[in-house]
């Protein structure tokens, strides 16, 4: 079965081409850049909201894009059991659109941070993590000014197993020293209740080719392999 993935471009998206490159050239799947107000979800099997500064992140990161018609299309896709991935600014948009719980606040350092970090896989039962192993540690870079995850429903998220990634050290131990931005409970990524919508601050598309990784790893491709697996098998 052939798979078709949409990479949605908002004005100010800037990881759109990078994401497209990985889907086309590394994963060898059909992917297309779609301008946000021309996006029709029914034409695609999955959609990715890439990183960047949609609408300049003016007012608040992701808030203006959250009111784009693309979000209505994304909601329809989720109803049709089609997966949605939000990376960095895409994650911020999905929380602002309330497709994902919580919010992303200014980093506790008050500065932008660009750095390779480690995240621990907390749960593999999602459309984007089913090819990972629980407890596995991924090498992946972050690049954001507003990535401090916060929610007032932490207990609920834990009960529902919606916390998918937490910042950790290379051995998988989670603590303040491995938290790059002050996120609550070191949370790096969460999913919705249906487990088909996932958002995270780190950039899988920057961690999908050995040549770009300081540790010569390609952990980012596991996100896309998981997505392909879900689309082809329906299994989470």
């Amino acid at each position: 079965m052939s798979i078709k993935v949409a990479v949605i471009q908002f004005p100010g998206s800037n990881c759109d081409l990078d994401t497209l490159h990985v889907l086309n050239e590394v994963m060898n799947i059909e992917a297309e850049l779609i301008w946000h107000n021309e996006f029709v979800g029914s034409k695609f099997d999955a959609a990715i909201l890439p990183g960047g500064f949609s609408f300049g992140d003016y007012l608040r990161s992701g808030i203006i894009a959250a009111h784009s018609p693309a979000i209505e299309e994304a909601k329809k896709m989720l109803k049709d059991d089609k997966p949605i991935l939000g990376i960095c600014n895409g994650f911020q948009i999905l929380t602002e659109a309330q497709l994902l719980p919580g919010a992303l606040l200014k980093n506790d350092s008050l500065k932008f941070i660009c750095k390779w970090v480690h995240i621990r896989v907390e749960n593999t039962h999602t459309a984007f993590t089913n090819q990972m192993k629980e407890g596995q540690v991924l090498d992946i870079p972050v690049a954001h000014g507003e990535g401090r995850y916060f929610t007032d429903k932490l207990t609920e998220l834990k009960e529902n197993k919606q916390i998918i990634f937490r910042y950790s050290d290379p051995q998988g131990s989670v603590g303040d020293a491995s938290n790059p931005n002050g996120s609550l409970d070191n949370i790096a990524g969460v999913c919705d209740l249906e487990r088909k919508c996932l958002g995270l601050m780190p950039h899988p598309e920057r961690a999908s080719e050995m040549i770009l990784s300081p540790n010569k790893t390609t952990h980012g491709i596991k996100f896309f392999q998981s997505m392909i697996h879900f689309i082809t098998s329906g299994e989470i």
């Binding site: 004005p11 100010g12 800037n14 990881c15 081409l17 990078d18 490159h21 990985v22 050239e25 301008w35 990183g51 960047g52 500064f53 609408f55 300049g56 992140d57 003016y58 500065k111 932008f112 941070i113 660009c114 750095k115 870079p141 690049a143 000014g145 950039h203 598309e205 920057r206 080719e209 040549i211 770009l212 300081p214």
Partner: protein, 748 residues
Amino acid sequence: MTKVKVGKDELEVDLTEDEIKYINANLEHQPSITELGMFDVMWSEHCSYKSSRPKLKLFEDAEKKYDYVLAGPGQDAGVIDIGDGYCLAFRIESHNHPSAIEPYHGAATGIGGIIRDILCMGVRPIALLDPLRFGPLKDDPHSQWLFKYVVKGIADYGNCTGIPTIGGEVEFDKSFRNNCLVNVACIGLGTIEDFEHAPSRAYNPGDYIVLMGGSTGRDGIHGVTFASRTLTEQSEEDRPAVQIGDPFTKKLIIEATLEAIDTGYVRGLKDLGGGGLSCALSELTGDGGTGAKVDMKKIFTREPGMNSFEIMLSESQERMAFIVKPDGLDEILRIFRKYEMAHAVIGRTDDSKVLKVYDDENLVVSLPATALSESPMKEREEKRPEYLDGLITQQTPQTNLSHKEILYKLIASENICNKEWIYRQYDHEVGIRSVVKCGRGDSGVLRIMDEDKFIATSVGSNSKHCYLDPYNGAKGNLVEVCGNIISNGAKPMAMVNCCNFGNPEKPESYWYFSKSVEGMADFCKALRIPVVGGNVSFYNEDEVTKTAIKPTPQIMIVGLIEGEENIITMPFKEPGNAIVLIGETKAELGGSEYHSVIHNIEGGNPPKVDEERVKSTWELLETLYKKKMVKANHDINKGGFIITIAEMCFETQYGAALDLDILTKENLNEFELLYSESVGRFIIEVDPKNLEEIQSLANKLEVPIYRLGHITSEPKIKIAGFSSGEIILNIKEIKEKYDSTIPNLMEI
């Protein structure tokens, strides 16, 4: 400042009496206030290069002398052919004065301007680099404020546009305290076809002139003339002359412009930077041999009631002027609408060779299109400062400090310590091209998608060396910056520079400029490196202290690495491997960090450059690379070679066992040996079994090399061979000192 009366109006201009006379003699009518304002801006030092042009002739003709140079000096950016159908465009320029007054927006709009220059060459901007200069941070809230907000301005602007900031360099010196330097460099990558189809000037009468992007406001009026003046206490009042950046709009401009160029309907393109519309329209038509008729009322303004003077001189950011083929106008406007970019057709080109601007029926500007860009040149006097003899002969004082204490102080000094605090704030990975990332090599290395070919680039200048000897200092800068990319495995291909100097009307300041240019020109000729562009920033002086900045000819070099396996990085790879010093260490402590950090003196004998030696050193490295004999390489810079070795130990937490006995025979004292900053040296890691072959290759090329010792798994640098006993440096300890200096100064 000169006061000029036009009717009942009076205008203060920076034009000299002679220049005003020249204008009056060459125009057929009495210039209006707006026209005078336009001359004032376009004939400013910043736009006209009137003082520097006579000297910059030394760099001319790169296109004729090198077959791979596609565009050289005088263009918006230099462009070189890098093979396989690709080309690189790159340029560096200054945004010093705005940043000294309003660091955040000054630095941000500097980035904005350089991005537009690259865009004008028809290629996508793929990387930014930023060399910076400030006063020492310690105990100086003013310098800390400038530093913090310049970095934030670069980060916020660059990150938002999606162009990675992959490199830069910084120096802290008291001469920059009130006149910081913010130089910005950008690289664009495209196909040769992109470049050949790149719009340039308005060659065809009857084309539409379309203004796109931000609205025209009252900000930035006279930014350029302000940059061509010395900073004073009153400069604070010039803050309205600093433009406000909008990186989000810039990102859309990049995408809309590239999409518009792709249609083939855009025949001319110019960004609106210094000098605003005046500059853009006169360059587009003047260089294209056409004229234009512009309707001022069509220009969308930020506020009502702006007059022609304000509109023609506004330097509001994020604006581009397009010259569009008549049959393509609809298509171009459709693209601008898609990106929701404001735009207006403001006029048409004609064959009159005159630039005419109408305010309704009134002709407010009517100037020969070339008049504005043809400022009279200024021959400046030059004189070597008398204080230099005293400085150069300054002797190194005695010290009671041990070498260990000295090295701990050096590694923690502001000019040597870790700069991670800066580059962590820059998105240096967006674009997924950054292969050698900040902190892992001497240069930034970018991949070219679909090709096994890499671009290496670096920037730099040593202001202390140039202060003592601008001729050799400027050459030394080139050796150092080329060394940066060579140590990553690249071959230097071309250079652009940004000359930051004092007031050219003062013979001593002009001498520094003149000697630096001669140094760069001579070196580039000897090493066959084309100079494909440059920018000059004069008047970097501070009236409070009555001093000029230390001369800073900033160099940017680009080069290529063929094949991933040929990329070399800085960290040591394997204990047991040999550590080899390439190049000669001389008694050259002048302008060294050792002198300034330990003895608080600026003088001494500064490094000299021997081009023949540099050439053979590069040749040796190239041969060793071909034989795959170099495991790690780091070029020796500030603080001497022990600092270099320490930096190579940090990432892998290895150590080094060194015996310097071999070097002590060289007739140098311990201090000269350890801390001289003689240029053109490298530290390489090699397999000991290859040492013999390496030695014979070096002998053949007459390049001095020294086996200093080997890498150890124990994280300590142990230095033997001195009568004063063994020096032992603990890697963990020095790394902590190296890392903590800037955070300790900048974080509350």
